[in-house]
Symmetry: C2
Amino acid sequence: MGTRAGIVVTGTEVLTGRVADRNGPWVAEELQRAGVDVGTVIVVGDRPEDMRGALEYLAASGVDLVVTTGGLGPTADDLTAAVVGEAQGRPLDVDPELEQRVAAVVEKLMSRRGWRADPEATAAGVRKQAMVPAGATVLEPVGTAPGLVVPPADGRSGPVVVVLPGPPSELQGMWPAALAAGPVREVLAGAGELRQETIRLYGTLEAQLAATLRGLEDGLGGLEITTCLREGELEIVTRFAPDAQPAYDRLAAALAEEYAATLFSTGPTLDDLVAGALADQGLTIATAESCTGGLLVARLIERAGSSAWVLGGITSYANSAKEHLVGVPGEMLAEFGAVSPQVALALAEGARERFGADVGVGITGIAGPGGGTPDKPVGTVHLCAVGPSGQQARSVRLRGSRTAVRERSVVQAMHLLRQLLLGGPPA
Amino acid sequence: MGTRAGIVVTGTEVLTGRVADRNGPWVAEELQRAGVDVGTVIVVGDRPEDMRGALEYLAASGVDLVVTTGGLGPTADDLTAAVVGEAQGRPLDVDPELEQRVAAVVEKLMSRRGWRADPEATAAGVRKQAMVPAGATVLEPVGTAPGLVVPPADGRSGPVVVVLPGPPSELQGMWPAALAAGPVREVLAGAGELRQETIRLYGTLEAQLAATLRGLEDGLGGLEITTCLREGELEIVTRFAPDAQPAYDRLAAALAEEYAATLFSTGPTLDDLVAGALADQGLTIATAESCTGGLLVARLIERAGSSAWVLGGITSYANSAKEHLVGVPGEMLAEFGAVSPQVALALAEGARERFGADVGVGITGIAGPGGGTPDKPVGTVHLCAVGPSGQQARSVRLRGSRTAVRERSVVQAMHLLRQLLLGGPPA
């Protein structure tokens, strides 16, 4: 493929997982949308030699563009601008006008939060943030840190480096300006259109799909196919240049025929499907959750505009809450136990009734690590979704840690909802 | 520092952010605990040349150990074993006994899920997963994929490569066996003890801390200090060899003195502090959430054993739910609006009363992007925590996307709880 880019994510806090990196994937997605192929993301700590090594490696691999994220703060471990300037052969100097603009932002921020700081220390930090490699384009700060577009020094070859701040909101806010900068526009002008299509199956083994793809091998020229299995969902993503569209159409038709029983989407995500069905059918929804503790309702509410269909949920972790807040009969809890199909149904019906919702979902289970019995081991989860047109229930035994069991339960519940609202492959 | 490692995370789905990588940070943390310094994590797609490039780069940078994750499945895009075998000079061959063991696992998995697949396709996938570089140590599969420990071929130099599967539960389950493998043990034997300490401030600017650290510069020899600011929390992580302990003690004392007003932890996370306070004080807790939609109660329940103190929560997204399920007076909603300090307090008290909990938390706000007014713009959030010893309330205007506002509201609520239960710096 034509235009290629690499991404360098900096920050020891990202490297050690104290903060999950959201920037690498976000930038990769944006670049791919612009027709740029991203093959590598490198995460380095705050040591200059590691960052320098990453830049050199990407330059040597022949990419046209490098995007760095993070390391633009006022402390001594924030050294991206200096390392990039050096790598591109462009020495740094203070930009006095930028210094004034950053100082104004910092002052405003501090007064709004009511924070006090030593003026001299603040000024030193501001000056550091206003250091610009000679000839670089400054991207105006969204927070306090300006970004940079740094082409190689005159007479040098190598990628254009775009330097962006670490906080995702600042980075995303600065992205349009980065794309509009001259050197970046020149790189992107060389990028062709790249299409991406996704097909989703629920309940097909990866090995089976591999055999299907091997059988089609001759007809797949020009398609870059990747498959990913998670939580029972097999996602098939295909990227291709426009001239390979006929090959993709053949692939899509072959998969639709062979996997009619498990294909549940030729594009939209599970969340898209559930939200779309609720909106299209004019239905409201409420949940009553035990082991998932509010994760399902939080996921339903994540979508902007969801207040039109989500009424709310009750996290009835204690039995007394199941009884008094959701209306699960005390005798039922005593007879079948809190983790039972009967209670899952009563939770779904209780959620529906208490919130006056059209659709109710109930989840009860044992997320562990404690609480399991021989009869009901850790991972036992009962789910039920009740709507105007009927109900769907499922009892499963999920593997994995407490977090995994809770997350998988939410996925199961979403598929149950999909099946209740749209039919299609069983949850 | 002594022993160094690099990590290669594979998978186009990770590169493009469709799946968040949990393996890189997890492995980095484990290696650091074993005294190994991890400077670089490289994420590559499913193209062999990118993976080969990453291995070569890490080898050239002089690391002693490389850990790869993912790319061990049965499909054609899973090629880690082949690329690593080639890089280490060890050609692949089928291990017939391993093939039988993998086949048995796959068969059991399929019969449990009730899945059917073409036997020939399954056998081809199994055979692929049983391909082992000559002289490598096989790590028994936790799921279906075996792992590998691949030292350089005899007579070659370079790092030992540990090949692990992508699903986090499989990777983590296989980790003890990886550490126990001879070549890995030899590498780890050279690693010295590395200590790590964390100090957390709430409400101090990074620039101010930078000035403090500059003032102490002479006394900080042997300490590797990184700072990270997020959601108002400034995290200061220091790593050092045992002989630098006195330097660390001086740093900790200086920070404790200078930041007495904002230092809220010399180790435990915010979640540790809140859970510990509830457990130690024998208090139960319940929530009533609007804009955060269950995220707070889900976070409180995330911790194993939390059923001892978390009774549950109500996500009262609709006004009718606030009124009928939590008991917020209809007149109050009409007079002050759902997003008001009065309603936050009524939600906190309602949660306490409905669940019979000692502590109640109420959150109401406008997460956006719609729903804002000039009077109550998007980002307006009112929070309240009520307990046996009093109450804490806060009204804030948060910036960022819908997701950011919801997440920041949860952080604010956790700090409010910390302050209610433990005192210390204001939320």
